[in-house]
Symmetry: C2
Subunit: 250 residues, 2 copies
């Protein structure tokens, strides 16, 4: 039996859209075929892991190689599907740090939805959702996730909260100074609840935006300590602390 | 009175080596003079904030401008010196993410010492300490810190622990699977204690290294959840969680 393909980071895992089940045949897309055949130099009979966000993880055998690509056949399930915690990241895109980085780290940290938000002081004019999607898939493959975070269409701050489900609490990274420390705000009674983290752009939220955000009953303003964090640092710190205290890190 | 210079991120703060006291005169270095005179277009009489890690923060007036640079005179103290929490980051440099990023984020997150460590699987051959130093200064200026993290010379893992002060606990980011969740390991009894966080390279620590690390009585192996985090994500997540639970975030 041929071995499972190994990268330096571990065994090769690919995200696919197709259903996975015993004997199911999956065509690799162009990028995957290139990676398998030319980067990993895979041969017919080599094995990789597949996941699609629904059917768990499957060991699959490289079955057919042609000029146009390759196909994989599912052999056996190796992990049952698990659900990620229900944690959204609503973030104003920032200019200084590439969105790639935030998206990659947020995926590793187990975010379920990535929601770009345009605020008054947002200076990034265009959010490349397709590129974000590619980044989430790569990070999910490498971080051993069984699903890929959903990427929502960019919305304005007003629109974000216009139809908000009040059962989903919002951890608002508030630089105003009078917010509660995050570890105090996240009590064990909140374990299993739906959450979103909200971070602003360079220069923060405008005062009127801040007042409007804090007026919502589902919003919990939180402080991230005495130093000024960049927006992307605040996002990643909040995600990690949420996971450690009320998420799936225990 | 001329106004204090403002950047998009807030008022201009500069780190200097010289002592700060009422009437003290400080020569700006070349980079600072260029920034003040040509980027910010400062004029004599404009004011900036200075800090040196020892004497608190001072409002200083641009006093003299020549072809060779400029000088600043301390007018009044605006913040008393505070101590940062005693938290070191001992990290194996990684290839994929520039050290710049880790250094910048760790500084924002309040680290006091940055210690590069060479392990068996470390593939980065050269660590640019001078560049790291420049990054810590820039991040300290922008994050409102009153000090700059110390950067230690690169050491091997063996040497790191050869003269370790057993009173400093080591949070060891352990991918082995049987470690305690980080939030459980960090009880409130540990508030105010000296700590270091230890993260490995791409591919993690070798099994023998892992055994040797765990054999030390001052080492607390901790888990960062069910997903595989890149080394830099693990470092930043641990720093943030430490600050939130036992550091100065409350």
């Amino acid at each position: 039996m041929n071995a499972q393909l190994e990268e330096p980071g571990g065994t090769v895992r690919l995200y696919v859209e197709a259903p996975l089940a015993g004997g199911a045949r999956v065509e690799a897309n162009e990028g995957q075929a290139h990676y398998l055949l030319h980067v990993m130099r895979a041969k017919v009979g080599d094995r990789v892991s597949l996941f699609n966000g629904r059917d768990g993880q499957w060991l699959a055998r490289l079955d057919q190689v042609s000029k146009r690509g390759c196909a994989l056949v599912c052999e056996k399930p190796t992990r049952a599907q698990t659900e990620s915690p229900d944690l959204w990241l609503c973030f104003a895109p920032i200019k200084r740090t590439p969105a790639d980085y935030v998206v990659q780290k947020a995926t590793e940290l187990g975010v379920s939805v990535l929601q770009p938000v345009i605020t008054r002081r947002t200076i990034v004019s265009r959010v490349n959702l397709e590129r974000m999607r590619a980044n989430t898939i790569e990070a999910a493959e490498q971080s051993d996730r069984l699903d890929v975070p959903e990427i929502r269409e960019t919305v304005s701050l007003d629109k974000l909260f216009a139809n908000w489900d009040a059962n989903r609490r919002v951890l608002f990274c508030d630089e105003g100074g009078d917010a509660q420390p995050i570890a105090e705000a996240l009590g064990s009674s909140l374990k299993g609840e739906a959450f979103a983290i909200l971070t602003g752009p360079e220069g923060g939220f405008a005062p009127a935006e801040r007042d409007a955000i804090r007026a919502h009953g589902f919003v919990i303003p939180i402080s991230l300590g005495p130093r000024i964090l960049r927006a992307d640092t605040a996002a990643l710190a909040s995600l990690a602390i949420w996971q450690a205290i009320v998420g799936d890190w225990k």
